[in-house]
Subunit: 327 residues, 2 copies
Amino acid sequence: MTDSVQLLGISNAIVDVLAHVDRDFLQTIGAEPGSMTLIDQDRAHEVYNQMGPATEMSGGSVANTVAGFANLGGSTAYIGKVRDDQLGRIFNHDMKSLGVDIRLQKSADGAPTARSHVLITDDGQRTMQTYLGACLELGLADITEDTLGSPKAILLEGYVWDIAEGPALARKAVDIARRNGTAVALSLSDSFCVERHRDSFEEFVRDGVDIVVADEDEVNALVRTSSFDDTLTALNDYNNLFAITRSAKGSVIVHGDEKIVQAAAGVEAIVDTTGAGDAYCAGFLFGWANDLPLSQCAQYGTHCATQVIQQLGARIEPGLLDGFEVR
Amino acid sequence: MTDSVQLLGISNAIVDVLAHVDRDFLQTIGAEPGSMTLIDQDRAHEVYNQMGPATEMSGGSVANTVAGFANLGGSTAYIGKVRDDQLGRIFNHDMKSLGVDIRLQKSADGAPTARSHVLITDDGQRTMQTYLGACLELGLADITEDTLGSPKAILLEGYVWDIAEGPALARKAVDIARRNGTAVALSLSDSFCVERHRDSFEEFVRDGVDIVVADEDEVNALVRTSSFDDTLTALNDYNNLFAITRSAKGSVIVHGDEKIVQAAAGVEAIVDTTGAGDAYCAGFLFGWANDLPLSQCAQYGTHCATQVIQQLGARIEPGLLDGFEVR
């Protein structure tokens, strides 16, 4: 039933504008360290004008995962909205050059391509101020049998719920996926995003989603617990496959009665944590899409995340799993 | 006589599009390893479409030097042409955020902001395919008493000669500089550029230029020699101050009978040689503008170049000379 695409991502298409800042800068612009804040165009200009020189590279959480999955050797497609401007062309180029099949045309008018000001402090933590621009125009009409096809899995991100038609287009995508034997994965994006959309997420996870990829805080927010032990208990009540990252504590895979604990790998110096979760998700789903045991999927995820936090930028390099030995 | 600006750069305003490639890729697109080739818009699309994912950051040889000079704590201004598009706004932002006084308005129409596809091979060498776009529209009208002011020095780059009105606007800048007691520095850009414009460069160096900053190959091309010993002999016939970089062999400062030999610093791993010469130029001119002995200027230059080749990208980080000890 499925076509040759293993993973199709549906998400906000964003160009990252990365700069190193000190803690004082975050205070100056009133940003909570480690947070992702949605901002409008005026505020985006304000933040950018106060920032130092930056580096631009394609980003977006699930877009990073799709790019990473492609770089691992998987076949991928992508649905996200950019405008036909220089940043939009950069975003699409960076995906296409990895072999990602871009399913939507660039918008000829409307808001400019989205950008996220990624402010990196000395400890490698990133604080994001995101202007969604063209992403906000992603709508129901963009999700069709044609654009979705019948991949092995689709991957949605929680941030899609920040778009007006987001919840509806996610539901439409699930309906099409169900008809075509396509699995549905959801990345929970961030814990504030989960707080913003908890009820809708919970309903969606219980009815529609097969795989949830998230960090500990996000899952805690979803099931309304504050300790990970309580979370594991609460997950007994869910049928989904959960892949939960826990930073230095590694990751835990939960699937019904099955629990797999995966340790984190040692890292000499963290350069930039941007994309750690996205890279984990790429490695994990790559293993899953190739029908590997869950313990191996977790090792793939860990390996990808470990690499990405030791570089500036959120996308893993090609060939990362070449010669990788499963323990 | 001079105003508070120490260094004003006049050059091609370019956004770098950086990607790692293998040697085969250079052969595929027919690029000579290590060269800088000027390409038109069609060819730019062709090269970009064949490239992998890239990172965008502000570049341009003398623009890098001006940014570096500002980052060392110097006061700077800049004359270069960008269009009012996303890349042009990025270029200007990255300069302004360092305190560089941008002297020209962005063009409302015409060709898009210039970009250079910087293809980096595993040995850290870069090969550049440059589309000059808006830069080609820099003209005589942009060089006036108002835009130039009376800085301590202006810095031109050889690449300006690739613009139709380049030689004429350089001459006009020298005339204004002379009237205002401003020194004139010239970066020779690359040896192919020197070959393209040798007669004009020679005339300009003999009549107008105070300081020449260049690498060994460029100076060899200028004085038509093939060995550095012959070059040093030929320079006896010039009155300029020459700062000549020689990669791993360090650098040599020549000023009349005075010769200073500066060793290179040890480097563990070269990441990307992009901007080594530009960074040297920033350090050297920063010392010169602060009336330091030439031996110290050479040490500053070496320190800046050593740092920049150990990172991806051509612009040095702020505060690089803080705590630097002159030997």
